[in-house]
Amino acid sequence: METAGAAGQPVLELTGIGKEFGAIRALHDVDMQVFPGEVVGLMGDNGAGKSTLVKIIAGNFRPTQGEVRFGGNAVHFYRPIDARVVGIEVVYQDLALADNLTAAANVFLGRELKRKFGPFAFLDHNAMAARALELFGELRSETRPHDLVKQMSGGQRQAVAIARTRLSNAKLVMMDEPTAAISVRQVEQVLGLIHRLKEQGVAVMLISHRMPDVFAVCDRVVVMRRGEKRADKSIRDTSPEEVTALITGAKEAA
C-alpha cells in the first residue's frame, strides 16, 4: 500500500506545537504532517498528550507555542466550529450525541436541512432522513434514521457519529478511539469506513489503543510519550512490538 499523496502538499502541518496548562507541560515541540488520503495512527499511553494534540487541531484549545497549517495556510481556531469550517471533523470518544434526538437529527445537528416558506425556514425532515439512511447504508449499519439514539447499541451510535463527518466534505477526519466500545463485526465496519475515506482522498487520524486496528488500516504511526513525539514511522518499517516499546518507554525514540 503506497502512502498516497506523500509527494504532494500536506493537508495538515504542525510545527513546534506546545501546550501548557499552568505548570503542566502537556505538549512540547511537536512537528507533524498529514497528507491527503493518508491514515495516520496516533498512539501513546494515557496522559501522553494525544488528546491535547487532537483538541488543538480540532479547535478546542489554542496552542501555547507553534503553528498549525491546514491546506497550506496558517490557521487559528478559536472554537471547534472554526476547525469544522475549514474541513476538520472529529469523531469524539464519547461520540457527542444527543440521546433524546433521532439518528437523523443527530447526523444533521447544527447543519439542519431547511426549506423556505416565505420568511420562515422549516426543517426538511424527509430530506434529512433520506440522506441519513444513505450514509448508514454506506456504513453498512443497521440504523434507522427515525430511531432515538438512547435506544441504540454502541455500534449504531458510532455509525451516527461517523455519518456526521461524512456530511461535509471533510479533508481531515480525526477519530478518537472509534473501535473501543463496539462489537468485532462493527470494528470491521469502522475500519472499512476508514478505507473508504482514504480512497476519497480524505486524511484520517486514528487515535487508538488497539494495536491490531492501527496495523490494519494505518499507513504511518506516530507515537507520543510525555507530551513529545517519540516516533513517526511508516507502518511497514515497524512492528507492534516496537510500537509497544515506544509507548511504554522501554525504547526511548525511533
Binding site: 469524539y92 433524546n100 445537528l109 447544527g110 420562515f120 453498512r140
Partner: protein, 360 residues
C-alpha cells in the same frame, strides 16, 4: 479488508418499536392526558354542574391564566434550565403596563399630551388615536420582560451562573422593583383605552374566553417552532447533551439567552392578561405562581433534567391542576386540600413515568 459496501442494508436483528411504544403514547404527557380524561369523566358523574357551559368557561379561563407562562417555561426546562422569576415577572410586566396606560391617559403627565387631549367639557379624556395607548403600554410591559429575560440569559449563558440561583435572585429583584415603582400600592389600568384592554384580556369571542384563544395560538406556534425549526431542534439538543450541542457548532449561548427571553416574555404577557381579569396589578400579584407554573410543566411531562417537553404537556398539566381545583370546589371539599393533592400528583406523575421506563 474488503467490505461489500454496496449491498443494501437489512434490519435483520433490529426490531422496530411498536407504535404504542413510541411518541406520545410512551410519554408521560400521554399518561397524564389519559388520567385527565378519566378525571373529567369522573367529574361528570360526581357533579352535574361540572360540564355546564359556565363552568367550562371558568375552567378554560382559569387554566389559561397560568398556561401561557407554562408554555414559556417549558422552553427553559427542555434546555435543562429553570426560571423561578416567572411569578414576579408576571406582576412586574402587568404593573408597568397599567402604570404606563394610566400615566399616558392623564393629561399633565410627561408625554401624555402626545396621546390624549381633554374634550370640550374639560373633564373627559379623549385619546388622540384610539388604541395607541393600549399598544404602547402593552409594549412597555413586554419590553420590561424582554430586558429581564436578557439579564437572566446573560448571567446564565455568558457568565455561567446556575439557572436556579440566577432566577431565584431575579425573583426577588423583580418583585422588589415592583414594590419600588408602585410604592407597594399596586396600579390600575385606566384611561380611554382601558375598555379595549379589558375586552382583549377578559372578554370572549363566541363564548370562548380570550386568554384561551391566545393560549391555543401560542401553543400551536410553539409546537411548530419546537419540532420544525432548527431553533427548536437546538433547544432539545441542548437539554439532551449540552457538550454535544457545543461540539456540533450549535450557538449554545444564543439559544440559552433566547429561551430565557421567551420565558420572560410569556410570563409578562401572562401577567398583563391576568391583570385585565383582576382589573388591577397589585404588588403582591402572582406571588409563588412560579411554583404552579413549574408544577404544571412537570406534571405535563417536561423533564427537569432537560431534553423532554412540549406545548401539549404544558397545557395538559395546567388543565389537570385546574380541574382538580375546580372539582374540589364543586365537591365541596375544603380548598385547603388542593395544595396537598397537587403535590401528590406531581410525585405520582413522575413516578408513573419512572416505573414505565424501568419496565420497557
Amino acid at each position: 479488508m474488503a467490505v461489500p459496501l454496496e449491498s443494501p442494508i437489512s434490519f435483520t436483528n433490529v426490531g422496530r418499536i411498536r407504535w404504542w411504544q413510541r411518541g406520545i403514547f410512551a410519554s408521560q404527557t400521554g399518561y397524564v392526558l389519559l388520567a385527565l380524561l378519566g378525571l373529567l369523566i369522573a367529574m361528570h358523574f360526581a357533579s352535574p354542574y361540572f360540564f355546564t357551559q359556565g363552568n367550562m368557561q371558568n375552567v378554560a379561563k382559569n387554566f389559561s391564566f397560568i398556561a401561557i407562562a407554562t408554555l414559556g417555561i417549558t422552553f427553559v426546562i427542555i434546555t435543562g434550565g429553570i426560571d423561578l422569576s416567572v411569578g414576579s415577572m408576571m406582576c412586574f410586566s402587568a404593573m408597568i403596563t397599567s402604570m404606563v396606560m394610566s400615566g399616558l391617559s392623564t393629561p399633565g403627565m410627561p408625554g401624555a399630551s402626545l396621546f390624549v387631549h381633554l374634550a370640550a367639557d374639560g373633564k373627559t379624556v379623549v385619546a388622540n388615536v384610539p388604541g395607541l395607548i393600549l399598544l404602547v403600554s402593552i409594549l412597555a410591559g413586554l419590553v420590561t420582560a424582554l430586558i429581564v429575560g436578557l439579564v437572566n440569559g446573560f448571567c446564565i449563558a455568558v457568565l455561567g451562573l446556575s439557572p436556579f440561583v440566577t432566577t431565584l435572585g431575579m425573583l426577588s429583584i423583580v418583585r422588589g422593583l415592583g414594590y419600588v415603582v408602585s410604592n407597594g400600592r399596586g396600579s390600575f389600568p385606566g384611561g380611554p383605552d382601558a375598555d379595549y384592554f379589558y375586552a382583549l384580556t377578559s372578554g370572549d369571542l363566541f363564548g370562548v374566553p380570550a386568554p384561551f384563544i391566545y393560549l391555543v395560538i401560542l401553543a400551536a406556534v410553539m409546537a411548530v417552532v419546537l419540532h420544525h425549526t432548527s431553533f427548536g431542534r437546538h433547544v432539545f439538543a441542548l437539554g439532551g447533551n449540552e457538550k454535544a450541542a457545543e461540539l456540533t457548532g450549535i450557538p449554545v449561548v444564543r439559544v440559552k439567552i433566547e429561551v430565557y427571553v421567551i420565558c420572560a416574555l410569556a410570563a409578562g404577557l401572562q401577567g398583563i392578561i391576568v391583570s385585565g381579569w383582576l382589573g388591577s396589578a397589585p404588588a403582591n400579584m402572582a406571588t409563588s405562581y412560579e411554583l404552579n407554573v413549574i408544577a404544571a410543566a412537570v406534571i405535563g411531562g417536561a423533564n427537569l433534567a432537560g431534553g423532554v417537553g412540549g406545548p401539549l404537556g404544558a397545557i395538559v398539566g395546567c388543565v389537570l391542576l385546574e380541574v382538580i381545583r375546580n372539582g374540589l370546589v364543586l365537591a365541596q371539599v375544603s380548598s385547603y386540600w388542593q395544595q396537598t393533592l397537587v403535590g401528590v400528583i406531581i410525585i405520582l406523575a413522575v413516578l408513573v413515568d419512572r416505573i414505565r421506563s424501568r419496565i420497557t
